[in-house]
């Protein structure tokens, strides 16, 4: 790791101030991606602005059907939240299956979303739940937020403060782990929301997370795995790598979608 200047931010605005004064600063949330990347010398920020302890960025509130999760809420806190589990167990179980216990107790939902790793789990949930990403400047719909591999709508110095969504009528996430990394090789989050069925896929798309509109239409007709049986998932635009080609991922998209739907 190269030398880096560490700052502990007391609040989102404090963090924004610090980073604007830095040469090439980066926000540090749980650090579960950034720190290993820096250790491998693949990233070399001049400054790290730690927002993990900043005021008002962590915590979960469930108000009727409106769920708000602070950006610095750890995966373990999401996984273990009883109120959230009662209204949206799909997201608590998703969080409980990210990485290993050490990752879950440091990694945060805001960090995961801001990184937009194409194999991360949360982006699929945000897209399928129609979540709103709230920053220190504005509110961004999930679909506008995720803009391709590791790309988001965040401006320089913009900080995610929380995310908000309406608890779905039902929803489930089915993940097929990569045999080596155990990141999602394909993960499908299917939700029955007030706006109809929404199906989002992570791990498979060459441009990152995406919605599977054919499946959504079929599930609007009938929420069942059978409704997906005749859908052909094209391998166009899907990733191919040493772990599986696009045809295999296309198959997994269909199988995992069916399993997610069948489970709720």
């Amino acid at each position: 790791m190269y030398e880096v200047k560490y700052h502990k931010a007391s609040s989102a605005s404090d963090a924004a101030n610090i980073i604007s004064g830095s040469e090439d600063g980066k926000f540090l949330a749980g650090g579960q991606t950034l720190i290993p990347t820096m250790k491998a010398k693949l990233a070399a920020p001049s400054d790290l602005v730690d927002i993990s302890q900043a005021d008002g960025l962590a915590g979960i509130s469930v108000d009727g059907s409106t769920v708000t999760i602070g950006a610095m809420t750890t995966h373990a806190e999401v996984a273990g939240n009883a109120a959230l589990s009662a209204c949206c167990s799909s997201i608590t179980s998703l969080a409980g299956n990210i990485g290993d216990p050490a990752v879950r107790h440091k990694g945060t939902i805001g960090g995961s979303i801001a990184n937009n790793d194409p194999a991360a789990d949360y982006p699929a949930a945000m897209m399928a739940l129609g979540a709103t990403i709230i920053t220190n400047n504005r509110e961004i719909a999930a679909e506008a937020f995720f803009q391709g591999m590791f790309e988001t709508a965040l401006d320089d110095g913009e900080i995610i403060t929380s995310i908000r969504f309406q608890a779905p009528e039902k929803a489930a996430y089915a993940k097929f782990p990569n045999p080596a990394s155990r990141y999602a090789m394909v993960g499908v989050f299917a939700a029955k929301t007030s706006d109809g069925a929404r199906v989002a896929v992570t791990g498979a798309g060459a441009d990152g997370v995406y919605r599977q509109s054919e499946m959504e239409a079929a599930l609007d007709g009938a929420w069942s795995a059978d409704a997906l049986a005749d859908i052909h998932v094209s391998s166009d635009g899907l990733l191919s790598d040493i772990h599986g080609d696009a045809a295999y991922r296309a198959n997994l998209v269909k199988v995992m979608a069916g399993r997610a739907v069948a489970s709720v």
Partner: protein, 786 residues
């Protein structure tokens, strides 16, 4: 409770390991210690035109940047392979030069170019990045088949077409005749996938030069410190043996990868002398993936012929073995005498011919890895057997039984003389434990849940404790393959056993102590095992090839024999009895059938006070021995793997895994079971998960755990381990060796089971979900076409 042979005594060494008190090379710190980092090639094949270290040399905290030209000028020798293989045309093997630091050319990604010495590891690594190497990039080749093609990049000048040797074993004419007489021939092309060894502790070294004494000390992660010292002095000219002490302290796993002396240890020793600083280097995981010797990597075409009764009439094998960019220490012998000599498997084969071409490619060196040649032979033979059974429509177990060798000794057509075994007995026990009779019902139950169930066999024999020295010498080995031991009984009766074997996870501190308990009745807590230090231990050939049991422990037995004889002489003299009447029982030395006795420690004291010894006897109670085996030992087993495949995803679940092993005499059953579990984990890893992949330009694509899949606990089933042990007649203890068995036997059992489940025999390792799914699509397409 007994602590002798056959007792499952808990491991003495575990207290320090599980409380974090183990002392590994990286835990050791020296006064005046500096740190090394290596400048490595980012290209698989290139001419080094210039090295500019000026920026690094100017950095605060940088002590020196040293390169291969300086190393060569100081007379440091090239790294060698220790076993000379002669091609079938009588020519010597084409070994290319391997300098610890490259001079003219780099040949794989990770090749060391320069060593940076600095006050901290951080400075050393950052400085190494600033060293500007000007490359003239050459085309690279990574495939063992393509490298032999004309027009492929030439990697070493003295190895035309990148071929190191073209070697054969067995009788080609007899094999061709056998195949010509066959009523059925099974023909296969088999790839044995390339593996990264991944010991938990990465390699590390601390080199300490004392200029007043002109003496070097090397702490290193070695499986065989005396062999390292021999190589460093006799071949690499770092220092003469009496001026070089090599210490291998606690070592966290080796699996073969820590047998060899690598460029880094040589460079650190030399740099310590050049800079006057102690030099420490610790590999990180990325460097380990790039530079630790990989394993396997064979491509083989084979034909096995059968007569109308299903008896094998001939087996012909043509293998290309990828050696990587340089010949590592055991690289020449692993794909020849450790591989093709096992092609007969457990079967009575009247004719065998094996041809092996070893080739250079622009990849990391490939060398012995847990099993070393025997897993490659076993995978080939056992895939052939299941495939032949499938093609001939016979039960794979029955085809094996029909061909099992039944009487011993058995001389194979490929050098080995099997001394003992009970192959049908292992098959019987494995089949009973695996409930073969109930398989059909289990398969039906799986089908009712939409799952595909399959079963696969592997019946293997391997050769451990490579020996005797005279025989291996006649085959080209550069050293003797005996082992040595010294047993010291102290005046208070406690015992130190000094052994040339080295423990890096094998529980020697427990099992070796059990030998002393078994012989003298002393508690194992009063027995200390000393190993891993050339200044303490007289000599040793180290630990690899499951040799610590069949060779190392038998050396201890020889030394115990001598101690016992002297103890009896002393006791007979003191007790005024005949030596023949003295017995040693439960820590007492007595006259048989009487109550006249000496306590064990009284004999020790008598030996050292020397007040009342037999006429002419030297004082003291310390004996040494060298043991050179008369033959290899031959462990064998039948393994049965049962799998359930999810046809939608291609995910394979191992639902049952059974082995029935013949390890000869077992010292500590719990330790042996642990060894089997670890071996099976690695064998299953090879079969289903692990694979080293280079792209065509020679860049390593599987350089971290993000892409290199190691087996995890939840990938593995609970194992059923049965024993059908036949003591080896070839060594005093009757041991056969167990360290590699699981890794050797498991891969074909797994692949045979998956092929059986999915109804497609066209499947290569690792059988990942995506590959199994693709194989299932082939079956569907075939069925649709019919």
């Amino acid at each position: 409770m007994s602590e002798g042979i056959g007792a499952s005594v808990r491991r003495k060494e575990d207290k320090r390991f599980i409380t974090g008190k183990g002392k590994y090379t990286d835990d050791i710190k020296q006064e005046n210690q500096a740190y090394a980092a290596f400048v490595r090639s980012s290209h698989a094949h290139a001419i080094v035109k210039n090295i500019d270290a000026s920026e690094a040399e100017a950095m605060d905290g940088v002590v020196a940047v040293l390169n291969g030209h300086q190393l060569t000028a100081d007379g440091i020798g090239n790294i060698i392979a220790g076993w000379a293989i002669t091609s079938k045309d009588g020519s010597a093997m084409n070994m290319g030069a391997w300098s610890a630091l490259c001079t003219e050319k780099v040949r794989y990604v990770g090749d060391a170019i320069a060593i940076v010495i600095a006050d901290t590891q951080e400075i050393a690594r950052n400085a190494a990045e600033t060293v500007m190497v000007e490359f003239d990039i050459l085309p690279a080749v990574v495939s063992p088949e393509k490298t032999l093609e004309s027009g492929s990049p030439q990697i070493h000048e003295n190895a035309p077409n990148n071929q190191i040797y073209d070697w054969e074993i067995g009788d080609e004419a007899a094999t061709d005749a056998g195949l010509a007489s066959a009523t059925h021939i099974t023909e296969m092309e088999i790839v044995n996938n390339r593996l990264a060894p991944n010991p938990m502790e990465p390699r590390a070294a601390i080199a300490i030069y004392d200029d007043a004494e002109e003496h070097y000390t090397l702490y290193t992660t070695s499986q065989n410190p005396h062999v390292a010292r021999l190589l460093l002095s006799a071949f690499y000219s770092v220092a003469p043996e009496h001026k070089l002490r090599v210490i291998a302290p606690d070592v966290g796993g080796g699996f073969g990868s820590k047998i060899y002396v690598y460029p880094e240890e040589i460079a650190c020793l030399w740099a310590s002398m050049k800079t006057g600083r102690s030099v420490k280097w610790t590999s990180d995981r990325s460097e380990a993936f790039l530079t630790d010797a990989h394993g396997r990597d064979h491509v083989t075409k084979a034909k096995m012929g059968f007569d109308a009764n299903g008896k094998i009439v001939g087996f012909k094998v043509d293998t290309i073995a990828n050696i990587g960019a340089y010949m590592s220490l055991f690289s020449s012998v692993t794909p020849t005498y450790l591989y093709a000599t096992l092609l007969s498997g457990q079967y009575d084969m009247p004719a065998i011919h094996g041809n092996v071409r070893a080739v250079y490619t622009n990849t990391a060196p490939v060398d012995a890895y847990r099993g070393a040649g025997r897993p490659e032979a076993t995978y080939l033979v056992e895939r052939m057997m299941d495939t032949a059974a499938l093609e001939m429509g016979v039960d794979p177990a029955e085809l094996r039984r029909k061909n099992f060798i039944q009487s011993f000794p058995y001389q194979t057509q490929v050098i080995m003389n099997y001394d003992s075994g009970d192959f049908p007995g292992c098959m019987d026990k494995a089949q009973a434990a695996a409930d073969i009779a109930g398989f059909a019902a289990r398969k039906a139950s799986s089908a009712s849940r939409g799952k595909l169930r399959g079963i696969g066999y592997s019946s293997f024999i391997e050769a451990c404790g490579i020996a005797p020295s005279a025989a291996v010498g006649s085959l080209g080995c550069g050293v003797g393959l005996w082992e040595s031991a010294e047993v010291r009984v102290n005046p208070v009766g406690t015992i130190e056993i000094l052994t040339g074997s080295h423990s890096h996870g094998q529980s020697h501190e427990t099992t070796f102590a059990q030998l002393a308990n078994d012989r003298f009745g002393v508690p194992i807590d009063s027995v200390q095992i000393v190993h891993g230090d050339t200044d303490k231990v007289q000599f040793g050939m180290g630990t690899y090839g499951s040799r610590s049991g069949p060779v190392g422990m038998n050396a201890i037995v020889k030394a115990l024999d001598k101690v016992e004889a002297k103890v009896k002489k002393i006791a007979a003299h003191v007790l005024e009895a005949s030596e023949d009447d003295i017995v040693i029982e439960a820590g007492e030395v007595k006259i048989a059938g009487t109550d006249k006795k000496m306590a064990w420690h009284e004999v020790g004291l008598a030996a050292y006070t020397a007040h009342n010894l037999p006429e002419g006897m030297e004082p003291g109670l310390k004996e040494g021995a060298f043991y050179d085996p008369i033959n290899f030992s031959f462990p064998s087993a039948t393994l049965i793997c049962e799998v359930e495949v999810d046809p939608e995803t291609g995910v394979t679940d191992i639902v049952q895994f059974t082995t029935a092993d013949d390890f000869g005499v077992i010292i500590n059953p719990m330790v042996v079971e642990g060894q089997v579990h670890g071996g099976l984990a690695q064998g299953i890893g090879q079969a289903m998960l692990e694979n080293v992949v280079y792209d065509d330009s020679g860049q390593l694509l599987t350089g971290s755990y993000m892409d290199y899949a190691m087996p995890r606990a939840d990938d593995l089933p609970s194992f059923t381990i049965e024993h059908n042990n036949v003591p080896s007649p070839s060594n005093p203890l009757g041991l056969k060796g167990c360290g590699e068995a699981g890794a050797i036997g498991a891969p074909p059992a797994v692949i045979n089971a998956i092929c059986n489940a999915i109804g497609n025999n066209n499947l290569s390792m690792p059988a990942t979900p995506s590959k199994v799914w693709a194989a299932l699509q082939e079956v569907s397409a075939q069925q649709a076409a019919e």
